[in-house]
Structure formats: structure tokens, C-alpha cells
């Protein structure tokens, strides 16, 4: 097995990883990007709808178009790319990274690693929905790849569980493909995705959205034959007597993404809510040589954000590799009221600027975000589907960095 020494090794070639590798290489680091798929792009390649890049490129692009631009930036940066290369192991001792590809096994000895492997979808079984186990039950991402990358039709009559943006976009995609979308079920009393997507993906096509509903049971022994939908109460418990059967040969699940931490979870501390590694404002984890960016840190809505975080992580990793990133005093960010996802997990006082991202648990109006009593931002409408982004810099950042801990909360004004 050959061993290669590099400055920065980036794992994952989605938006975050491409941005990280390009930024690290631009900083002059000898950089290698590893992607297990045959192509770079990650989930962008399967998102053929427009809605990408409004911030980064001030244009509305499709996923593949956005990926194409990022690949060009990566090409220009001089980073080296290996595709078809799956990382098998990250040994904290060294660190050393073991990789397999059709060309054989390789070992890398990087000075810094950027973890950018994205998120995985919560599988059907995780919901513990009773009933049979027929074919025809897909996660949204799998259905999307079958349809948009392979040109295969997952089914003819579909029910969608989960009204996050991915579920909504799949509803429209399937409808346009001639699939009868019978309903979109959402267990919460409000839609999970953006209002714009509820209108453009469901209402415009007359697809019913059943709020406070879930799947109570799955039917069919070989192929799916139908599901029982049921209304739930405020504790998400099914209300007896509200069951109704919906005939369908396909059930598409959009019930959440989970940051992928498989190879690092024994090495670095994770944030219990984000479910990704705890990072500081430079996207450095609590293991100094390990940086992380994108959906493997927390699930972000916009690829523009992911790309920006990737750049930050790549540039920080390059500086760390040069020995220019001395450790600072960590100041934890602590969740106060009404905060679920929260990135970063701590500030370390050495960055000139940082950005904070947070999510509220339910729709709220006329609220303000309070960051350690130093920064206060009014938010007229806060929705779980839209991350709130707050820049931290200048005096405010210095003041925050002096504290013992920073409580972040969302409260009525």
C-alpha cells in the first residue's frame, strides 16, 4: 500500500468539499480531494430543478449547473482530485487516512483533514411504522437519483411522507413525470419546507398537503398497495378513528437528513442536536487537525451557505497545515429558548469574523435573536425551514470572545 504525504486532505466532493479543496489549494496547500462517486457534485448532480446559486453567483442555476461552476473553480485552484475513492478509515494517530478505489488501496498522511461527506437520509425503518415490507418505499434522494440520473420511474401512484423542501420538490418532479401524487403527509401542524415551495410544488398542481398526518400502516406483500394515513394530536400520537386508506404503489420519504459522521464519531465530540461534529467559527473541530463543512456538520438549506462554509474550512485547514492557526480560548455557544440547529458550537477568539446559523423549532412571528446579550437581531418571521444567518465580527465578536459562554436564544421582541 502506497503512502502519500499531503497538506490538506478533503473527504467528499460535494459543494462543501469542492469549495474546501479549492480554497485550501488557493492558499498554497498541497491538497487532495477524495470522492467515492464517479463524479464530483454530491447531491447537486441529482437536483435538476432551479434554485441554486442566487447568493454565490447572483443567478438562478440548477444543481448540475452549480456543480459545474464549482468544478471549474476547483480545476483552476490546482487541487488534485481522486474519484471512485472511498475513505475507509481515519486513524487519529498521525493522522492517517485509508482509501480504496478500483486502482487499489492507498494511505494518506495529511497535516489537516476536511470532513465534507454530506448527510444521509433517515431510512423508513427508523420510523418504526408498522405493517408489511413491500417494494416501492423509497427515500426521496433514492427516488430522485433513479428518476433524474437513471431515467427510471419509481412508481405510478405515490404518497409522500414529509413536507420538507426535498419532499415538496419530489412531489412536483413526480407529478411532471406523469406520476399521480395522491398526497403529501406532514406530521407537524405546519409545512416543513419553504412557503414558496408549498405554492410552486403542491398548490399549483393541486396536490393535497395533509398537515398533522402520518402513515399509520403500510400495506402490500410484494409491491406497495397502499398506506393508512392517520391524523395525529399535538404529541404526534395517532388519533383513533381518523385512519383512512390511500391506494398507492409508491411511498416516498422525506423525513430528515442526518449528518454523516461514521468514520469520525469515535474521534471527535458531536453536537447532540446538529448531530455533526462541534466546530468553531473556522469550522475546526475539537480535534485540531480535523475540520468539517457542509451537511455533515448540520443540515443546511442552501448550497450557497454550504459552499461558503467549505471555503472557510479549506482556508483554515491550509493555515493549520502551515502551523499558522494557534489554538484560542474556546467560548461555547449555548442553546437558549427556541434554538434547535446551531453552528458553530463555540468561538475561539482567534477569527476576525464568523457566521452563526440557527434554526427555530416552529414558525414564530415578531421575534428577536439574542446572542450573548451582545448582538440582537430582529426577525419578523422565523420558520424551521429557513436557517437564520447572523454575521459576527468587529467589536461584537471581540466582546463575545471574552465571555465564558454565549447563550443564543430566540424570544418575542
Amino acid at each position: 500500500m502506497r503512502t502519500y504525504t499531503v497538506d490538506v486532505l478533503v473527504v467528499g466532493g460535494g459543494a462543501a468539499g469542492m469549495a474546501a479543496a479549492a480554497a485550501a489549494a488557493r492558499e498554497g496547500a498541497r491538497t487532495v480531494l477524495l470522492e467515492r462517486g464517479e463524479r464530483l457534485g454530491g447531491v447537486l448532480e441529482q437536483c435538476i430543478h432551479p434554485g441554486f446559486g442566487l447568493h454565490r453567483y447572483r443567478e438562478e442555476l440548477t444543481g448540475p449547473e452549480f456543480a459545474h461552476r464549482m468544478r471549474q473553480e476547483l480545476d483552476d485552484s490546482g487541487a488534485e482530485v481522486l474519484t471512485g475513492a472511498t475513505v475507509l478509515e481515519i486513524l487519529p494517530d498521525g493522522p492517517a487516512v485509508k482509501v480504496v478505489s478500483p486502482k487499489g488501496l492507498k494511505k494518506f498522511r495529511p497535516r489537516a483533514v476536511v470532513w465534507a461527506v454530506g448527510a444521509r437520509e433517515r431510512p423508513f425503518g427508523a420510523l418504526r411504522i408498522p405493517g408489511t415490507r413491500p417494494s416501492g418505499v423509497f427515500t426521496a434522494g433514492l427516488a430522485q437519483r433513479l428518476l433524474d440520473l437513471e431515467g427510471l420511474l419509481p412508481g405510478r401512484r405515490a404518497v409522500i411522507l414529509g413536507s420538507g423542501d426535498i419532499g415538496l420538490i419530489m412531489a412536483r418532479r413526480l407529478h411532471l413525470e406523469g406520476v399521480e401524487v395522491r398526497a403529501v403527509l406532514e406530521i407537524q401542524p405546519f409545512p416543513g419546507g419553504l412557503t414558496r415551495n408549498v405554492v410552486q410544488c403542491l398548490r399549483d398542481f393541486g396536490i393535497p398537503l395533509l398537515l398533522s398526518h402520518t402513515v399509520a400502516e403500510v400495506h402490500g406483500r410484494e409491491r406497495l398497495e397502499g398506506i393508512t394515513a392517520v391524523r395525529v394530536d399535538e404529541h404526534r400520537h395517532p388519533i383513533p378513528g381518523t385512519e383512512r386508506r390511500i391506494e398507492a404503489d409508491t411511498l416516498i420519504l422525506s423525513v430528515g437528513l442526518i449528518p454523516e459522521v461514521r468514520l469520525i464519531e469515535d474521534t471527535v465530540p458531536l453536537d447532540p442536536v446538529n448531530r455533526g461534529p462541534r466546530v468553531n467559527g473556522r469550522l475546526q473541530t475539537e480535534v485540531p487537525w480535523l475540520f468539517a463543512a457542509g451537511n455533515c456538520v448540520a443540515v443546511f438549506d442552501l448550497v450557497d451557505t454550504v459552499a461558503e462554509l467549505g471555503e472557510r474550512a479549506g482556508a483554515s485547514a491550509a493555515r493549520y497545515a502551515r502551523g499558522e492557526l494557534p489554538p484560542g480560548k474556546p467560548v461555547p455557544l449555548v442553546r437558549g429558548e427556541n434554538v434547535v440547529s446551531l453552528v458553530p458550537s463555540y468561538l475561539d477568539g482567534t477569527a476576525e469574523s464568523a457566521r452563526m446559523y440557527l434554526r427555530v423549532p416552529r414558525p414564530m412571528e415578531g421575534v428577536a435573536v439574542d446572542v450573548g446579550g451582545v448582538v440582537r437581531r430582529r426577525v419578523p418571521v422565523a420558520r424551521p425551514a429557513e436557517m437564520i444567518e447572523i454575521p459576527l465580527d468587529g467589536d461584537a465578536l471581540s466582546e463575545l470572545s471574552q465571555k465564558e459562554r454565549i447563550v443564543v436564544e430566540v424570544k418575542p421582541k
Partner: protein
């Protein structure tokens, strides 16, 4: 002489393999499109020690004997088998007396190494056990295995020794005349035979009726399970049983050979005609979780990847029905409730020997007992993995990321007989991990279609109408 074995579960497959040790033509009929998809597919996968079975029963006779054969079987067939040991846990005074009784049964049944352990000893070994535990019966010989892998491996080995395998071919009749078996009829033809072994699992009573016999009357008893992902197995290292009840061994917590944790099963009797009723129920899954949490309070239930259910073939006698019958040449291996999987190797060896004696069959000198499993390069030394990749780069292409299954393994599984997504899954464990096929189903589908020369929409999950995609998208 030609012998038909009906049913390619763990029991029928091992019997077919044992019969191949003798000078006979062995034909195995299975109605499903693949082997091991009946009761063998959904159970706890425990190789029991033999203390749960009342002395004097056929179960007791074959359980400890089967357990003793597992190391040899696992070596010859290269199937996963690990002696984890087990605790039966007691929380009340009545349960303490149950442990005493189990220990006595075990000693009569010839179960080695049983010991009563105190609370401290149990918690030192398994710190996650409910601290309210009072004592436990420790049984070092209990093990875990992959049940369907036994059927797959036994059939592969039997094929290597001359077995004739008929998949997707249900037996629909048995011709008996003059008190003797003459032929087996399937939906495809008539096969003259001199002996028949009924190992049809949940349907063994139907097969017996075809031969004009009465029993055993079978009904399904459902057991539901919750499976936690492959990062949870280290939380509990031994099989944990509660004190058993009259009905069953109770709801357990056990590590799986793939590194996950399995919770279950409950036990609910179903009407005799509900033989396909492997659906799970809300109440059932709640019951399973409640039972499991009683043994191990802080289970990471958010790491659930799957729920499923299996059906036990129960008879009023609560015991296996084995051996010869009033119809000459008709043998049974029926009513194989738990511990049928454990007992199977011992039953197979004994029954094949009985048949050989009765029919004067010579032992073959050229029987090859060894079957090689599909290599799983992620578990091999690096040099061996690199050698595989040099021969064929597909051994370096990971398809299932959770379980690190390569394209090479999937192609090999298809070469060995996988025709469906489940066929590939059960042979390679691709799609069995925490993403449950979310990342690899499309790639396995593509490989299956390519290797079988089929269109993707012709490929099924498990035969019949279980197609994965239904056609082409609009051009």
C-alpha cells in the same frame, strides 16, 4: 435412489447437504425464488444452549447436540458464528426460582458451563443491564449466527456435491401407493422418488396432508423485532434473556453478527391461515421496546434501522415432529419452532443417517464438506484485498458504504445464484446497514440488470410483483 427434500430453509438445506454424503440423487424443491426466505429469514439467530427445553422432549434432545455441532459447521461452511454466551436475568423472587429450574433442565440436557451469577458480577460484565437485576443464569455456550446464511451455504455446498435444486417450484402433490411414497408433483412436473423429507416450515402440515397423513396441525405464532444500527452492537456483548414464560423465551436484547442490536421477539398466536402475516403492528413494536428496555434501560432507540416479524410454526404438541411416518419413505422435519435453527445440524445428521440405514445407502468417499464464502475484502488483510483488486478492479469499488460491500462481491453473489435485490442483500449484506439501501439500491439494481441481461424494471426485490422501478421515465 432419488430423494426429494421439500423446503430450502435452514432445516431442509442442511438435510439436503447431509444426504449428499450418501450414494443418492438428492433433489431439493423450494417454492420461493431463493433459499432461506421462510421462517429462516426472520428469527433471533441464536444458537441456544439447551436449558430452555424440558428434558425428555425432542427439542431438548437435539438442541444441545446442534449447538455442539455449530463450530464444525461454521468452519466447514464459513458462516458467521460467535459464542457470545448469554444471561437469563431474574428481577423477582419467582424469577429466581425459574433460573434454578432452567439450570436443572440444562444439567439434565447436557448443557455445559451453567452458572448462577450475582447482580454485581452481571453488571461488571454487562454494565448496561437494568441495575434492578437480582441474579442471572450464565450460559457460555450460547452463540449468534446469520440464519439465512446457513441455508445459502448449505445449498451451495450441496450443489457442489451433486444436489439438484429447483427454486420457485412448489410441491403440489405427493403420490403414495401401497403405503409407500412414489413421486412428488410440482407445478412444473412429476418426479419419481423413493423417499421424501418434509421440511416445509410453516407449510409442513400441508405437505403431510398431501401424503395422506394427519398431523402436525400448525398455526403461526408471530414474533416482532426492532433492529438497531451496526454501531450499537458493542453496548451489549452477550445475549440477554428475561426469565421465560409458559409461552416463549421472552423479549431479548442481543448483539447481531453484523454489529447491531436486535430487540424482540414478542409472541402472538395467529389463526392457522395467517401464514404470510409477517406484518408488524404498533402495539407489537411497543411491547418489544418495553420488554427490551426492561433488560437494558438506555437503549439508543433513535438508531433503529428496521422493524420486522417472523412466524413460528407452532403445533399443539409444542415439539418437533421428526423422522419416519406410517407412509414408507416419507420423513418429517416439521413443527420446527425454536430452537429449530440450533437443532438443525443435529437433526440433519441424524435424519440423513436414518434414511441411509433404512434404504441401505453407502457413504460417498468423495464428499467435499467445505464451502468458501464470498470474500469480504474489507475484512481481509490489505495484501489480499490488493490482490483481488489487481485481478478485477471491481473489488475496489465500494457499492454499499455502510457495510463496505464491493461490486466484486455483488457480482460474485449473482454468479452464485442471487436473482433479486434481497438475494444480493442476504448474500453480501449490501443495503443492510444504517442507510438501509438509501445510497446503494440504485447501484445494485444497475449491476443486477447488467449481470442478468435484464431491464431494470424487470428486477424485483424478492420475486413476484415486488419490482423496484416500474419502467422508464418520460424521455
Amino acid at each position: 435412489m432419488r430423494i426429494a427434500v421439500i423446503g430450502a430453509g435452514a432445516v431442509g438445506s442442511l438435510i439436503a447437504r447431509e444426504l449428499c454424503r450418501y450414494e443418492a440423487e438428492v433433489v431439493l424443491f423450494e417454492r420461493a425464488p431463493d433459499v432461506g426466505w421462510g421462517v429462516t429469514k426472520a428469527n433471533s439467530g441464536i444458537v441456544h444452549a439447551g436449558f430452555h427445553d424440558e428434558p425428555g422432549t425432542t427439542r431438548a434432545r437435539f438442541c444441545a447436540a446442534g449447538n455442539a455441532l455449530y463450530p464444525e459447521l461454521a468452519t466447514d461452511l464459513e458462516i458467521p458464528f460467535r459464542r457470545t454466551g448469554a444471561y437469563v436475568l431474574a428481577f423477582t423472587t419467582e424469577e429466581l426460582s425459574v433460573l434454578e429450574e432452567l439450570r436443572e433442565w440444562g444439567e439434565v440436557n447436557g448443557v455445559p458451563g451453567l452458572e448462577l451469577h450475582r447482580r454485581e458480577e452481571i453488571l461488571a460484565r454487562e454494565p448496561r443491564v437494568n441495575p434492578e437485576v437480582r441474579a442471572g443464569l450464565w450460559s457460555p455456550t450460547v452463540g449468534i449466527t446469520l440464519p439465512w446464511e446457513i441455508a445459502i451455504a448449505a445449498v451451495e455446498n450441496a450443489l457442489d456435491n451433486g444436489l439438484e435444486l429447483h427454486l420457485g417450484e412448489p410441491v403440489v402433490g405427493i403420490e403414495v401407493s401401497g403405503g409407500r411414497v412414489r413421486a412428488v408433483r410440482t407445478d412444473k412436473g412429476r418426479y419419481p422418488v423413493e423417499a421424501v423429507v418434509n421440511a416445509a416450515g410453516l407449510f409442513a402440515d400441508h405437505i403431510a396432508q398431501m401424503a395422506g397423513l394427519e398431523g402436525p396441525a400448525l398455526h403461526p405464532r408471530r414474533g416482532e423485532y426492532v433492529l438497531l444500527d451496526e454501531t450499537t452492537g458493542g453496548l451489549v456483548n452477550v445475549v440477554l434473556f428475561p426469565a421465560p414464560t409458559q409461552v416463549s423465551k421472552g423479549i431479548l436484547v442481543l448483539p447481531t453478527v453484523d454489529g447491531g442490536l436486535l430487540l424482540g421477539p414478542n409472541a402472538h398466536d395467529l389463526p392457522p391461515d395467517a401464514r404470510e402475516a409477517t406484518e408488524t403492528t404498533r402495539e407489537g413494536l411497543e411491547e418489544v421496546i418495553e420488554g427490551a428496555v426492561h433488560l437494558v434501560p438506555d437503549l439508543p432507540l433513535h438508531k433503529t434501522v428496521k422493524t420486522f416479524a417472523g412466524l413460528r410454526p407452532e403445533s399443539p404438541q409444542k415439539d418437533f415432529v421428526l423422522g419416519e411416518t406410517e407412509v414408507a419413505g416419507f420423513y418429517q422435519a416439521a413443527a420446527m419452532r425454536s430452537p429449530g435453527l440450533t437443532a438443525a445440524p443435529a437433526i440433519a445428521r441424524w435424519l440423513a443417517h436414518e434414511i441411509a440405514l433404512a434404504h441401505g445407502l453407502e457413504e460417498r468417499t468423495d464428499f467435499r464438506p467445505v464451502r468458501k464464502r464470498i470474500p469480504h475484502p474489507a475484512d481481509l488483510p490489505e495484501a489480499e484485498w490488493e490482490a483481488l483488486i489487481r485481478k478485477d478492479p471491481r473489488w475496489g469499488r465500494i457499492v454499499c458504504f455502510c457495510n463496505r460491500v464491493t461490486e466484486g462481491e455483488i457480482v460474485e453473489a449473482i454468479r452464485r445464484g442471487a436473482r433479486t435485490l434481497d438475494g444480493v442483500k442476504f448474500r453480501t449484506r449490501a443495503g443492510f446497514g444504517r442507510c438501509q439501501g438509501g445510497f446503494c439500491t440504485d447501484r445494485i439494481l444497475e449491476i443486477l440488470a447488467r449481470e442478468l441481461g435484464a431491464e431494470p424494471w424487470e428486477v424485483t426485490a424478492r420475486g413476484g410483483a415486488s419490482r423496484i422501478v416500474l419502467g422508464e421515465a418520460r424521455p
